[in-house]
């Protein structure tokens, strides 16, 4: 079996001072390199909370998140930022591209922001990945001039340009029509197969979930089900 890229150990996340709400009640989860996993569950089950913790945008009340062999509870804010920049890719529901910038600039921004100054290689890499998502001819477009599906493909390019081992996608097809949703999902599956990038995709769409090779269901802040459809099928 491949090495684990992510281990979530006994993670509890509570909110509130007086009245404590428990969003996550002890989650254990391991993702291995090359997995294409769907994270499902009803609204309010704690999916987003878990994704924020794995994405290092939030810290658990107790428990540990170990990412690429690093216990992230030991890291300060600055180190977490660097880790987000270099180890993780993010795809959000509403693409969340920056409207003032062109497609290729949006793809370059994370690395540019991390390193400070741009290099010619950065631009080359950004153009190559835009080509890989089929948008080479849209590189100089403002992202506000692109269609929803194209925007989400730019967002995938942005998440993958630095070849992070783990990409987190929060309902990446949530506001796309079926055809665009398929296109976007196929793109993620392609990168998963060709590059071995691990994906954790939060989704409400059962058609997407069943095409992943692992489905994790969260209910009431706990892992209720963790199945691997493909393996189960064989």
């Amino acid at each position: 079996m491949a090495d684990p890229i992510l281990t979530v150990e006994q993670v509890v996340r509570e909110y509130g001072e007086r009245v404590r709400t428990r969003a996550l009640a002890g989650v254990n989860l391991t993702l291995r390199l090359g997995e294409l996993a769907a994270l499902i569950g009803p609204s309010g089950s704690g999916k987003s909370t878990l994704l924020n913790l794995i994405g290092l945008l939030d810290r658990p009340t107790s428990g540990r998140v170990i990412l690429a062999g690093q216990d992230t509870s030991q890291l300060d804010e600055r180190a977490l930022t660097t880790m987000r920049a270099r180890t993780l890719g993010f795809v959000f529901q509403f693409h969340h591209l920056l409207p003032e910038f062109t497609a290729v600039e949006n793809v370059m921004l994370p690395e540019w922001a991390d390193r400070g100054t741009p290099t010619p290689e950065m631009r080359t890499r950004a153009e190559q990945i835009l080509d890989a998502v089929g948008l080479a001819d849209r590189a100089q477009y403002r992202t506000s001039d692109l269609s929803g599906g194209q925007q989400q493909r730019v967002a995938i390019a942005r998440a993958l340009v630095r070849r992070p081992p783990l990409v987190l996608a929060d309902e990446p097809t949530g506001n796309l029509d079926t055809a665009s949703a398929d296109e976007v999902f196929e793109l993620m599956r392609k990168f998963n197969r060709e590059r071995g990038t691990t994906f954790l995709i939060v989704t409400h769409d059962p058609r997407i979930a069943e095409r992943c090779n692992r489905v994790i269901e969260i209910v009431d802040g706990r892992v209720a089900r963790d199945t691997e459809p493909e393996r189960k099928g064989t």
């Binding site: 994405g55 945008l57 804010e77 600055r78 930022t81 660097t82 969340h96 003032e100 922001a113 991390d114």
Partner: protein, 406 residues
């Protein structure tokens, strides 16, 4: 281009309306400061110039004579004696050439000139007028009060038997170049001198009373052969005159009087003007600060989701901070450059519109590089400082919350 600069500039360019409004506000503010400062500086400079055009920066004279008792009390003998203040006679300064050389050595002093001043009466036909007689060394005196430049008729010729006089005095005596005037000094010596030139220094008292002649001529009029009563000094920075004067006084024992002591009211007026200038500057600084801060605060709120995304994909907080600091600084800098240009244009325009009947500007403006650099540095600094609050707010945004709520 560094990331923070790239994003900051793109943000400013994409919010063109907002950016131009705040630039206009900063420009107008800075132009008001530049214009008013240029005007006030110009007025002050011309006031000081006209004041110092007819008086030395520092005048050194001998201390007043103190009363000397004729009989001293001694052991066993008490005396009763009224002490009457001594009347002050005209006397020469002891060893004035030595004092002159000493005074010239003081730091800040750029020129020194010996003068013999006294009073007299000028007589011409029926007119008998009091005059102030000044005997000077023509070469040295030139550096103290530039009379040759203010000669309106004739020339600055003070060779033996000649003198130059103030224009009002010339009018009242009804004399012109080449005419003779009888002068009597307070020592009772009379001489007839020829007017070689008439000057206007712009100071009513001076133009009405001054009679300038050679030192030697004055010495003979007052019976003080080889003497001089005062030493007149010029200093490099006119506002240090008071300090230099008191230092000279304490070191030499001579009475040292600076123009600042003689013109206390003028200086009080100037300092009141300066404080009003400072008030205006402070108001403009506050306006600029509020303007830039409000625009940036709105911008941070508008962009909070984008900031959250940038933070989520790994942008360090310090770079987010820099994005907004750069915007504040750049808005201040560009606004102040435009404002300086506007201010200079306004000032020049004003100067060319408000004219005296003789075609000279009524309000001479003074635009110097220091003023422009100062205004630019101030506005840029204010932009940077006021950007700190919104920038810190942006840097502290929690990415998860910002993305969800933005």
């Amino acid at each position: 281009m560094p990331f923070a600069w790239f994003v900051a500039i793109r943000y400013m360019l994409s919010a063109r309306g907002q950016t131009s409004l705040i630039l206009a506000a900063v420009s107008v503010g800075v132009s008001v400061v530049v214009f008013l400062s240029a005007l006030i500086n110009g007025l002050q400079a011309s006031l000081i110039q006209s004041t110092l055009g007819s008086q030395p920066h520092i005048t050194l004279r001998v201390a007043r004579e103190s009363p000397r008792p004729l009989v001293e009390p001694s052991a066993g003998r008490a005396i009763s004696r009224p002490i009457q203040p001594a009347s002050q006679r005209l006397r020469s300064m002891d060893q004035w050439p030595v004092r002159l050389a000493e005074a010239q050595q003081f730091p800040g002093v750029t020129a020194a000139s010996p003068t013999l001043t006294g009073s007299g009466i000028a007589t011409r036909a029926d007119a008998r007028l009091p005059v102030a007689i000044r005997g000077v060394d023509p070469e040295r005196f030139l550096a103290i009060i530039n009379i040759p430049a203010k000669i309106i008729r004739g020339s600055f010729d003070i060779s033996p038997g000649t003198m130059v006089i103030g224009s009002t005095l010339a009018n009242e005596l009804a004399v012109d170049v080449g005419d003779k005037v009888r002068l009597a000094s307070t020592e009772g010596i009379e001489q007839v001198l020829t007017v070689s030139g008439v000057f206007t220094l712009g100071n009513a008292g001076v133009d009405k009373t001054w009679v300038v002649m050679s030192l030697r001529q004055a010495q003979s009029m007052f019976g003080l052969l080889g003497g001089a009563t005062t030493i007149e000094l010029k200093v490099s920075d006119v506002f240090t005159a008071e300090g230099i004067a008191s230092e000279i006084q304490s070191q030499t024992g001579l009475l040292a009087e600076s123009w600042m002591a003689l013109n206390a009211e003028l200086l009080a007026g100037l300092s009141a003007q300066s404080s009003s200038k400072t008030m205006i500057q402070a108001c403009v600084v506050i306006t600029v600060a509020l303007g830039i801060a409000s625009v940036l605060i709105v911008s941070v709120v508008q962009k909070s989701r984008e900031i959250g995304i940038l933070r989520a994909v790994g942008t360090p907080a310090r770079r987010v901070l820099a994005i907004f600091l750069i915007q504040g600084g750049v808005l201040g800098l560009i606004g102040s450059l435009v404002g300086c240009a506007l201010g200079v244009v306004f000032a020049r325009l004003f100067e060319s519109i408000a004219l005296n009947p003789d075609g000279m500007p009524r309000f001479p403006v003074q635009v110097d590089l220091d003023l422009l650099l100062g205004a630019t540095a101030l506005a840029t600094g204010v932009g940077l400082v006021t950007a700190v609050i919104p920038a810190r707010r942006a840097a502290k945004l929690d990415p998860a919350t910002a993305i969800r709520s933005g």
